[in-house]
Symmetry: C2
Amino acid sequence: MSVIIRKATREDVPALFDLINELAIFEKAPEQVTNTIEKMYEDGFEENPIFGCIVSEWEGEVVGMALHYNRYSTWKGRRLYLEDLIVSEKMRGKGLGEKLLEATIQEARDTNCTGLMWQVLDWNEPAINFYKKFGVRLDEGWINVHLDF
Amino acid sequence: MSVIIRKATREDVPALFDLINELAIFEKAPEQVTNTIEKMYEDGFEENPIFGCIVSEWEGEVVGMALHYNRYSTWKGRRLYLEDLIVSEKMRGKGLGEKLLEATIQEARDTNCTGLMWQVLDWNEPAINFYKKFGVRLDEGWINVHLDF
């Protein structure tokens, strides 16, 4: 058995939405998911999509995802941003997260971005140590400000 | 004399680039600006632009800018992100920043975003107090992770 890493297609949307909800339940915040399958079709798989996604498939089932989109730095220009990297709980510890991150780095290079960015919580030491192996630069002390409509 | 708040056009790019560099010099990091005027034309004012921008004009001169683009939350869907809000040093304290922020909130509403987001450094109390007046939600403790190519 082996893992397939590939770009997500329209047909993957229900599986992506399941992974998103699995994570929200794991984080005890399922009520915070106000996104819908219909909006994900529209926002990712019609004309001028806002996001792209890479998935990991195991025995025909989508068991991991890395959702990304372009951002723009006034200083550095076009960047790729990794919004969410999710691996289904039953499939953790098999290196799928690393494969998804590597494929997202490649996507950033292939699309002429000047870099890849993501966020990590400052108390999440295992994740920070994992990322350091990739040679990242850490920019600390930020608050995300949200104005929800 | 009055201020005009309007969407940026292609003709504004040199003025935007001046404001970006003015801020970088103020922050003692001008060498970190690797972006160029040519790339800004391409990335913001051709087909499928990555970013949009609102400017404030005073006596025919662009003296402030608020650069924004779409982001995508797996939980909340389409968001607008305010990357940079810059007001030329000589024009500070006249409420231009507030007007640019208000216009960006309106842009997010007009484009059916579920909210507007931005970032602030955790030591920047005056800015945090200013934002609180808009009814924002603060999400603390984040590190921005960069992989520069």
